[in-house]
């Protein structure tokens, strides 16, 4: 979205409850700043993220979508993030195949101890998406303000 003429990408971050959401909390505890336009949605596990949610976010105006989960092997539910990894590998590869900028989607494993990594990831991802400009290729004009 444009704020005072400057492009600020809207980032939707799906965070698993056990690791990444806690990692985001830790970033908060340590006052590690990242852009305001990163908005977190809590899910029990990264494997709860349906590709439809991601497309929906893009439809409604998100410029980037990131999915954060426990590191492979550390899933609170043992295997959830392994399924996430396969699903998102295939989905993101498909989006890329359709010519949708691959930098707009990302999966990052952030543990509950990695507050710094969470903040750094959000900063870096926001920057990468900002460099692309607005999401035009998966937009829904009806959802534009």
């Amino acid at each position: 979205m444009q704020i005072n003429g400057e492009f600020k990408p809207l980032i939707v971050a799906f965070c698993c409850n056990w690791c990444s959401y806690a990692g985001a909390d830790l970033a908060g505890n340590n006052r590690l700043a990242y852009p305001e336009n990163v908005k977190i949605i809590k899910v029990p596990c990264s494997c709860r993220v349906n590709p439809m949610f991601i497309l929906r976010a893009f439809q409604r105006g998100a410029d980037g979508v990131i999915i954060c989960g426990c590191h492979p092997g550390d899933c609170h539910y043992t295997s959830g993030n392994y399924y996430t990894r396969r699903r998102m590998s295939l989905l993101f590869s498909m989006l890329n195949f359709l010519g949708i900028e691959k930098e707009r989607t990302r999966v990052e494993w952030v543990s509950a101890a990695e507050g710094a990594k969470f903040a750094a990831t959000m900063n870096e991802f926001t920057e990468a998406v900002a460099a692309l400009g607005e999401n035009k290729r998966l937009e829904d004009l009806r959802c534009k303000r």
Binding site: P72, G73, R86, S89, N96, G99, K102
Partner: protein, 332 residues
């Protein structure tokens, strides 16, 4: 060995009803036009003799209809399955979509089906009749009269790139046992992969914008046998009925391809029935190709009970970031 023809199948279908092997037969009958052959259920020998057809325009994959048909009554359903249909048949069994005991499957060898789009390209519009003798296709059009085209010139793309002429499931086989073929079916996917991002976007924007959301691809797809499709379900948050926006064209086709990823046997029915001639099978093939590249070769439907790649994992699986790069550069 003689090519399977209509007479042979009519005889077989009638025989299966007569000897009580099955009490109904899934086959093909003529639709509105000659080339517009449609799946049908036959309950009587009379009906079979009157309506049953088989020929080079019988591309329709009958396996899907078993889901609903086997639920009706107790008797067996006989079904004719071309090699590619048998993969769908196995995949449906893997997903426990019908009871194998209720089916009598007749595998039929196949050397490829004709593509009416190709015929139209050569013969022009306004086809009034079309017939094939196994070598040549005779077409009569409103504007140009009769034309004869070589069948080999109008073989469907999916048959040119046939992955297997082997029937992987049947109770009885008619014709020769074929073989699994080392096809070039991923060439077009590779070609698109090697395009630039903008070109890829342009390609698909152009193709998908033709979509009229008729749902033919979904309705014909043997992997799309959901009791209720998410796109018809107001609670699914994905319900949409019309391609009102370029987003929804993409949404529909991405999600549809994703839902059948790892389950799609690459039968190519989606592209066959698309009235807009969108190469939808390429989306499915992209998933198949990626699955093969990322997780090792996997052919859905090759075996009953195999574990689909999306309901499986290994600890060392490729990371999504790398996967995207690999999916792009594998053929570059």
């Amino acid at each position: 060995m003689q090519k399977i023809n209509s007479t042979m199948l009519i005889e077989k279908a009638a025989q299966l009803l007569e000897n009580g092997t099955a009490d109904r037969v899934l086959g093909w009958k003529k639709g509105e036009f000659d080339y517009d052959i449609t799946p049908a259920v036959f309950n009587s020998v009379d009906q079979i003799k009157k309506e049953f057809v088989f020929g080079d325009f019988c591309g329709a994959n009958l396996s899907k209809y078993l889901v609903k048909e086997t639920r009706k009554g107790d008797g067996k359903v006989a079904v004719f399955l071309k090699p590619c249909d048998t993969y769908s048949f196995n995949q449906l069994l893997t997903e426990k979509r019908f009871d194998r005991e209720k089916v009598y499957a007749v595998g039929i060898s196949c050397e490829g089906m004709a593509d009416i789009f190709k015929v139209k390209q050569i013969a022009g519009d306004g086809i009034v009749s079309v017939s094939s003798d196994g070598e040549n296709v005779k077409v009569e059009t409103l504007y140009d009269g009769e034309k004869t085209i070589k069948l080999s010139d109008v073989i469907a793309e999916r048959c040119i790139n046939c992955k297997s002429r082997k029937c992987v499931a049947y109770d009885e086989l008619m014709g020769e046992e074929g073989e699994i073929i080392d096809s070039d079916r991923f060439d077009m996917v590779s070609k698109i992969e090697s395009m630039s991002e903008d070109e890829r976007f342009g390609f698909w924007q152009n193709e998908l914008s033709k979509c009229i959301r008729c749902n033919a691809c979904r309705n014909v797809c043997p992997a799309c046998t959901c009791e209720k499709c998410v796109f018809d379900n107001p609670d699914s948050c994905a319900q949409n009925k019309a391609p009102a926006d370029s987003f929804e064209e993409k949404m529909f086709h991405i999600i549809r391809a994703f839902h059948v990823a790892g389950r799609c046997t690459d039968c190519g029915e989606c592209s066959r029935v698309c009235p807009q001639n969108i190469p939808l099978h390429l989306l499915n093939r992209k998933f198949i190709k990626d699955i093969d590249t990322f997780y090792g070769e996997y052919q859905a439907g090759a075996q009953v009970g195999s574990r689909a790649p999306l309901v499986d994992y290994t600890e060392g699986d490729i990371e999504p970031g790398e996967a995207v790069m690999k999916g792009e550069s594998e053929n570059a």
